[in-house]
Amino acid sequence: MESTLVTQGLDLMLYGMGTVFAFLTLLVGITTLMSLVVNKLVVETELAPAAPVLTSTPQAVEPRIAKVIQAAIDQHRK
């Protein structure tokens, strides 16, 4: 019957907007909580300053580009 399509549309609206709002409202809470916890934890432990991060595999990480960028940075600092 014709009305099924309308019903489906209304269902979609109802459950769809419901889910979107529920999810994002929950995310507001989770994000706020996360920021609190993370900032407390990290200030305390200083996040194991990420080690000297031996940057692994590729030794020759584009030294040419590095030079270019270095030059540009030098330039900016002048």
Binding site: L5, T19, V20
Partner: protein
């Protein structure tokens, strides 16, 4: 003589149909809008060009390959055939684009003011209202949309290109051309569509509200946020996991600071390559029989409505929040909740400056702006789930 006939018979002039000529003109118009008017050129240049290519009679851009009984190829497929089936039908291209967008997204403003997520939620009202609109057009016999098509049309209101393409390629691939063109065109028209609505729904005093400066956001928060979002999606809404998972992956690569090589490539070479092919592939769905029909006019009209309602909902939600919260938000930033990053945020900023030349809203508007991306990805997940079961 036979050869001359063969050459003539295979020429475009002999084979061209009116529909193809019109579609080639549509392609040229898209290119004109993209190049001369600056309408989302990164997508509309490839889409417009793809539209022309696929409508060249006899060029075979979307021909399927032909294999003999032994499985050997007798004649290869066309370029757009391969692009569409490998990258769009499978959903790979929109997902890779989403990874790239994630690696370009700065969640800082959102983290500094998480409640702007609600503005990103409110703006999705446009999506679902439009679904109702499409369904109503069907109910009254004006146009004939299935629920799958109605859902795909609604997603135009998400103001997020890859999300629209991802949903439509799953639910209503025949509408892909029209929906993608509508989505990107309206995103480009945000500076024209939104300001009147924003002004109509706000008082000058509201538009002058100054928001307090955003707190600085730590590196650790930035790293943990995409993971927290991912876990929440995993637990509550797996249907949104493909889009949001790749988005979070890109963002984590950006923020974690230890894979800058990968993040750079994701933001540049990779997203550029995929953008070119995504656009051409979308163009391959711009054939006369799929585009030149009353439904396309309906899609364009409904898409515009979706944008307007989304904009209004965002602004009204901000006003609603102000009735309850201590720290007022400028309701203009609600309009940025439709996504269309970063255009909608710039529009909010500009309308704010018109009201008060000292009132810089750009960073405040970036929060709802990226929230709108999350919001429409969530809406996409819900719709794919519900519609598939209907």
């Amino acid at each position: 003589m036979e050869n001359l006939i063969s050459l003539w018979a295979s020429s475009g002039l002999a084979q061209m149909q009116l529909g193809q000529m019109i579609m080639m003109t549509v392609g040229l118009v898209l290119l004109f809008l993209a190049i001369s008017k600056g309408f989302e050129p990164l997508l509309l240049v490839p889409i417009g060009f793809g539209t022309i290519l696929v409508n060249i009679p006899g060029a075979g851009f979307e021909a399927a390959p032909i294999y003999d009984a032994m499985g050997h190829m007798e004649s290869p497929g066309g370029l757009l055939y391969y692009i569409y089936h490998a990258g769009i039908e499978t959903g790979l291209f929109p997902l890779i684009i989403f990874m790239g967008v994630g690696s370009m997204t700065d969640f800082g403003p959102l983290l500094a003011n998480p409640k702007t997520l609600l503005l990103g939620a409110a703006a999705q009202v446009g999506i679902f209202t439009t679904v109702i609109g499409a369904v109503a057009l069907g109910h009254f016999g004006i146009l004939d949309f299935t629920i799958r098509e109605a859902a795909s049309i609604g997603i135009i209101g998400g103001a997020d290109g890859p999300t629209a393409i991802f949903v439509t390629s799953k639910l209503a691939p025949d509408l892909l051309g029209a929906i993608a063109v509508a989505a990107y065109s309206y995103m480009a028209l945000v500076p024209i569509i939104q300001p009147p609505i924003m002004r109509a729904l706000t008082t000058p005093a509201e538009r002058e509200i100054k928001m307090e400066q955003l707190r600085p956001v730590t590196k650790a928060e930035r790293i943990v946020f995409p993971l927290a979002l991912l876990v929440l999606v995993a637990f509550l809404l797996p249907d949104a996991a493909p889009l949001l998972g790749m988005f979070c992956f890109g963002n984590l690569m950006r923020e974690c600071g230890v894979v800058n090589r990968l993040s750079d490539t994701t933001q540049n070479a990779l997203i550029n390559i995929v953008t070119i092919f995504l656009g051409l592939g979308v163009g391959s769905k711009m054939s006369a029989e799929k585009f030149l029909n009353p439904e396309t006019m309906g899609i364009l009209a409904l898409g515009a409505v979706a944008f307007c309602i989304g904009t209004a909902s965002g602004v009204l939600m901000a006003k609603l929040m102000n009735t309850m919260a201590k720290h007022k938000v400028n309701p203009l930033i609600g309009a940025a909740g439709v996504s269309a990053v970063p255009m909608a945020a710039r529009v909010a900023n500009k309308v704010g400056l018109d009201a008060n030349p000292q009132n810089f809203l750009l960073m405040h508007a970036m929060g709802p702006n990226v929230a709108g991306v999350i919001g429409s990805a969530v809406a996409a997940g819900v719709m794919i789930n519900l519609v598939s079961g209907m």
